[in-house]
């Protein structure tokens, strides 16, 4: 009884030590230039083990460059980084044993079948012929591709191809996976399929670093979010904490015709006591709402008194879109100056 307790305590201690010492991904002052363009200007990242960390940022913010450095494809010009406890430059080989990389394209051989692809990559991970074959069958089952195992990858749907790509990068069950825009260009169904696979990976204990342009994807998958802009991390935290940081609830009013935007904005501004954001394209006026119910009822009454035709009205929590807009000054998906990787 006594001994058991001691054992538990010491194990907890030990794990505690490991936790505090080891991040799945640790980067300090990472720098990278491509000619004149600065892709990373001193990026710091600390990603604890387990879960999904979403790396968000506008196009050209340095997301892909960061992933390429962390996965040993690019050498940094300055700073240092460790993945799974190994330095990405000096111990690149150990890093390569500890990571999986699924990039923007499904990097599989189109002419080979799904099984042949996984077998080939398994051999290149030095599993041996028999083990590579066994592992290929395992993964085909696990990623829901068993029925298509004998089909050539070029006949796969987009979602299937990305899942094959995920499976190929998961051959060694690595502790850290980098997913660089894994669902770009997929239809909603394909996207859902990939999300399911990512959730399964995380349930198995893998740490996932995910870059994405879709904030919905980050909201769906990420436990932590790191926003980067112009090659630097500008915010980090859980999605909830980031949303709270932007401010409290907001009221959205969508008017029926664009001509009524000004009137609506004046009313919303008066009720909320703040300058509202006006988006002409979606005919939407939005402003911070300190008291949810009071703001909603007062605004609704004032709008109706003024005869403004309202299509939709509601109070909502801030979204990652608001976080993104506040932090980077523009919406997700808007182009910044493109930096070639």
């Amino acid at each position: 009884m006594y001994g058991e307790r001691l054992l538990t305590v010491s194990r907890l201690d030990k794990e505690g030590v490991v936790e505090s010492k080891k991040f799945a991904v640790f980067a300090e002052g990472l720098q990278k230039r491509f000619g004149e363009a600065e892709a990373l200007g001193g990026l710091d990242l600390r990603i604890p083990e387990g879960g999904v960390c979403g790396l968000l940022g506008p196009n050209g913010a340095g997301k892909t460059t960061a992933v390429r450095i962390l996965s040993t494809l690019l050498r940094p010009d300055g700073g240092r980084a460790e993945v799974a406890g190994f330095d990405v430059v000096r111990r690149a080989e150990q890093v390569r044993y500890s990571i999986g990389l699924a990039g923007q394209h499904a990097a599989v051989d189109e002419i080979l079948t799904g099984r042949q692809n996984l077998e080939t990559f398994g051999r290149l991970y030095h599993l041996g012929v028999r083990e590579a074959r066994r592992r290929a069958d395992d993964l085909l089952e696990r990623f829901g591709l068993a029925d298509a195992a004998g089909k050539q990858a070029k006949d796969y749907s987009g979602g299937m191809r990305r899942r094959l790509d995920l499976a190929a990068s998961f051959i060694l069950s690595p502790p850290v996976m980098f997913l660089d825009e894994p669902t770009t260009g997929l239809d909603p169904r394909g996207r859902n399929e990939v999300w399911e696979s990512v959730r399964a990976l995380v349930a198995g204990g893998t740490t996932v670093l995910l870059t994405t342009q879709y904030l919905e994807e980050a909201d769906q998958l990420a436990d932590r979010i790191c926003v980067i802009d112009a090659g630097r991390a500008i915010a980090e935290g859980t999605p909830e904490s980031l949303k709270s940081g932007v401010g409290g609830d907001r009221i959205d009013v969508v008017v029926r015709s664009a001509g009524e935007l000004t009137a609506a904005a004046r009313i919303v501004g008066r009720v909320c006591g703040a300058d509202p954001d006006v988006d002409g394209e979606s005919r939407k006026v939005s402003a911070p709402a300190t008291d949810r119910v009071a703001v909603l009822t007062q605004t609704a009454r004032a709008l109706s008194d003024a005869g403004v035709k309202v299509e939709d009205i509601g109070v909502r929590r801030p979204t990652l879109d608001d976080v993104f807009l506040r932090l980077t000054g523009h919406r997700a998906g808007e182009e910044e100056e493109e930096v070639a990787a």
Binding site: L74, R75, L101, A107, L124
Partner: protein, 280 residues
């Protein structure tokens, strides 16, 4: 839960074994392509065969063949075939470049580079696969040549030496292909190289004897690396049409060894450099 992770080899013989095993796995991928895309392979192989038939029978009558060869001077097909062999080798450059550029564009090269495999295996595997491809292509051409009446008239040893020279040319051009593929990074750029390969092909002794060209053009043709291999193989096969005025033409055998070595000496380091540059 975690698949057994093999440890990295420490000693260099182990590393070498590793590199060869990885290279073979990469090359094996190409061999699977043969079986998965038999139609594509057949088309690739049939193209030179078609050229043989076209030049051999359509234009052949109008071509004059220099030198009084063993067959009494003038069998154009005897003259043509060694040129066609060398041309098949030269076309291999485009195949190599296409494969390298496609892998780079599709992210396959990046996947390899993010894996704990021997870094040299990516390039080594490519060269193994392409050399095997070339042996197959050359075998088909020789069979086709024998069907249209081409023969080697010297010993089997000299014939094999000629085959060796052809494969040596292919091997050197392989590195040109790897370099260009790494530079281009997209398969579309291969079209530009295809446009350049044809003039090099025609500015040689492949189809006509350089003596029949204007003097300066003939001299360029005789110094063409392709001409060196063609002339040397004609000599070794005992086919008509070798010989010429320039030093290069008179020393075709030597040049057929020197040229590929020079090309290799230039493009092998360039390829390695370019491959390393991928991480910059």
């Amino acid at each position: 839960m975690r698949a057994s992770t093999p440890s990295m080899p420490r000693t260099w013989p182990d590393r070498l074994r590793w590199a060869i095993a990885d290279a073979w796995t990469v090359a094996r991928r190409d061999l699977i392509h043969w079986f998965r895309q038999p139609f594509g392979i057949v088309v690739t192989l049939l193209f030179p065969v078609m050229l043989v038939l076209m030049f051999g029978y359509l234009f052949g009558g109008a071509m004059s063949v220099p030198g009084e060869g063993a067959s009494g001077g003038g069998d154009y097909r005897e003259f043509l075939l060694p040129g066609m062999f060398a041309m098949t080798m030269a076309f291999g450059l485009e195949a190599t470049m296409t494969s390298v550029a496609t892998d780079a564009a599709r992210g396959v090269t990046d996947r390899f580079r993010s894996m704990p495999m021997a870094p040299s295996a990516v390039v080594l595997g490519r060269s193994m696969a392409d050399m095997l491809n070339s042996v197959l292509g050359l075998s088909v051409m020789v069979a086709c040549g024998l069907l249209v009446g081409w023969r080697w008239n010297e010993s089997i040893g000299e014939a094999l030496l000629a085959v060796g020279l052809l494969l040596l040319l292919r091997f050197s051009l392989l590195w040109v292909g790897i370099f260009l593929g790494l530079v281009a990074r997209s398969p579309e750029a291969v079209a530009a190289v295809q446009i350049l390969v044809w003039p090099v092909l025609f500015l040689s002794n492949t189809f006509v004897a350089p003596e029949t060209m204007p003097g300066w053009l003939g001299a360029i043709s005789e110094w063409n690396p392709l001409s060196a291999t063609v002339a040397a193989t004609r000599e070794l096969f005992g086919n008509p049409g070798w010989g010429g005025e320039t030093w290069a033409a008179r020393n075709a055998l030597l040049m057929a060894v020197l040229w590929p070595m020079v090309i290799f000496a230039v493009f092998f380091p360039l390829s390695v450099w370019r491959y390393r540059r991928l991480s910059h």
